[in-house]
Amino acid sequence: MDKKKGTKNLAKMNRREFVKKSAVTAGSVIAASNLPGFIGPARAATRDHILIGRPNPSTGPLADFGAGTPWADDIAVNEINKAGGIFIKELGKKLPIKIKTVDTQSNPTKAAEVASQLILKDKVDLMLFYHTPDTVNPVSSICERFKVPAISLDSPLEPWLEGGPYKWAFHAFWSVEKDIVPVYTGIWDQVETNKKVGILMANDPDGVAWSKVFKEVGAQKGYELFDKGRFPYGLQDFSPFINDWKENNVEILLANLIPPDFITAWRQCQRLGFKPKVATVGKAVLFPSVCEALGGDLAKGISTEVWWSPHHPFKSSLSGVSAQQFCDRWTQETSKIWTQPLGFKYAGYEVAYDALTRAASLDKDAIREAIAQTDIDTIVGKIKFNDQNYARTPLVGGQWNKGEKFPWEIKITFNDQFPNIPKTGEVFSM
């Protein structure tokens, strides 16, 4: 029976056969085209560019962080390559830089996998990555394993240091204990309250680290903290938390969570009649898109950390463009308001360019050594790595209010630690 069918099919190819055959052909072509790369050392003898690997959370819950990446990358790469790129001693000539961006899906397991792929398949000379512990922690570890120089920004220092000591990975951002705590408690101090604080934090590296530090330091500063524990991403019912705060007459909300969860929680707060005088919310309300998504006036008065803004008195070491000019360009080209990660995305290239220029080599040890010696004023402030491979960047506090040009704008309301970053508004009670 089988044989009969076979001869019939030889005579004329039906649709199903065609689909099958073309799939097989396409598969073999793809496989064959990659065969040379699989065998032996893939690196060609002559190099015509320097390759930087860019694992980026383009999809998933961190997509808001990853959103401006192609824009900032293009600007920085163009500026570096305009004059021919970076001089490499071994080759006696300048090489342009190239980047390869891959999606981590906001998933730490995937991030480790794509980072390995960038190192082993694409043979990147340097890894550059940003945005929260879910991206930065796994990629740093993978770079350590394969001894690839790595520069990361935009993820609190404490969770990153858990994975140390580091030799190949370098990191710049602020500290929860030294920066977030003074900024948040500073904002609380400016409003008259009963000093009762409700904690709402997700069960992730940020939430666990923040709640621990705040419970220690907050108590010392005379604040009473109410904590019902960490909650998983995607929780739909926050009423146990909210009812607890209402019962205890909480007037300050302290939160750290991802944007979708905050939107759910904050709407439920309104519905259940929980209206704190101060709300300091980490990570979730960094972006104006979230304020708009909350709907109505719900975002008004929420405070958050500000790591970078157009008002920061810093400028690019690549082009001399100020933070304000950089943000204006973003608005002009995308018709959107600036966001905090923009500056950090760009600053990574400043550190990379500076280190590669000083190393003037493709040797990984030389690049690592040059990164360790970094001492540069970038668009996000001074970056100078210490002996634990990290640098602290400045942090101030801000509060959302209805804007003039855009629906929501953030005003810098607290700058005690870094008075060189000007205040643009005063803290108001919600």
């Binding site: 999606d103 397991t109 480790a112 792929q117």
Partner: protein
């Protein structure tokens, strides 16, 4: 309808094994990475296939063993400085213990209820680990073994579990238990009345699958370095295994191997395409199911009778 097994099958299998075993000599580092992922996923997929394709135990909770094995390895190496290889085996043994505890509850269920039971266990473990201070809640643990292994050593460990899983499945299926399993899968009532010890056979397979899955997870997380409860106990693992086995051909030994090859290569290519990668994976799965409903190897076997590793035994009068 008995067909002669493929003549040169041991030559082909030996060749494939030799090629895999010598990757560190001839391949680039990237091939080594692909080879490692391939071996690990083959081991995981074979185990899911053993449970679902041969024993009729539809498990949606393989991630319970993956997370448990991975966490055991991470805790013993990082907290108690246990040798990394010992801790990987410990992870496997702990998974067996977990499977024993699970079996008390879920072996009273069958079919879809069994599937839901395994899934619920995995979810319980997720909640437990993400609220357990000892493992730092949802922060996750960095795996810091006292003797960090090189990439080549990790690869050989992966090759060992990959080949080990294949041999284990083959031996089980060629044994008396295997015959019983297939009889049981096809008709439980009849096979029970014919004297197949259903409970013992199923439990045996469940424990074997737990051990190999837990061990494989240990090796995987030695490579990953960073383990975090929401991903270690995520449903994604089982979804991937289902994809691999269905595409390759459920209820065949070669199926999971072919499925893994496709899955590993596809996920490497597609990671560059961000938003559409998951969409493409789904479309490919639907296309293959439409064209070859029994999976690639299942359909090939049906059409041509080609089999590399047949669990079937020939009648004595048939020539080998």
């Amino acid at each position: 309808m008995i067909r002669e097994p493929f003549k040169y099958r041991w030559l082909v299998l030996g060749g494939i094994f030799l090629a895999l075993a010598t990757i560190p000599v001839w391949g680039s580092d990237y091939v080594l990475l692909l080879g490692m992922l391939f071996c690990l996923y083959v081991a995981l997929a074979q185990m899911w296939n053993l449970l679902t394709g041969y024993s009729g135990l539809l498990s949606l909770g393989q991630q319970a063993f993956i997370g448990f094995g991975g966490y055991t390895m991470a805790v013993t190496t990082s907290y108690y400085n246990v040798n990394v290889w010992v801790s990987i085996l410990t992870g496997g043994l702990f998974s067996v213990l977990l499977a024993l505890v699970m079996s008390i509850f879920i072996f009273r269920m069958s079919g879809i209820f069994f599937a839901i039971g395994t899934w619920i266990f995995a979810e319980i473990l997720l909640l437990w680990f993400s609220n357990w201070e000892f493992v730092k809640y949802g922060t996750g643990l960095f795996v810091k073994p006292p003797n960090p292994p090189s990439m080549t050593m990790i690869y050989y460990a992966a090759l060992t579990v990959g080949v080990g899983a294949l041999v284990t499945v083959y031996l089980i299926l060629r044994s008396k238990i295997g015959l019983g399993l297939m009889a049981m899968r096809d008709n439980e009532a009849v096979s029970a009345s014919m004297g197949v010890e259903i409970f013992r056979s199923k439990l045996f397979c469940f424990l074997v699958a737990a051990f190999i899955t837990g061990t494989t997870a240990g090796i995987l997380y030695v490579f990953q370095i960073f383990i975090q409860p929401y991903k270690a106990f995520a449903m994604d693992w089982t979804v991937n295994l289902v994809f691999i086995v269905i595409i390759g051909g459920i209820g065949t030994i070669e199926g999971p191997i072919v499925g893994t090859l496709i899955f590993v290569l596809l996920s490497q290519y597609l990671s560059e395409y961000g938003h559409i990668s998951l969409l493409l994976l789904g479309i490919i799965a639907i296309l293959i199911i439409l064209v070859a409903p029994k999976g690639i190897m299942g359909t090939i076997q049906e059409k041509t009778g080609f089999e590399l590793l047949s669990p079937r035994r020939l009648f004595p009068e048939e020539p080998m």
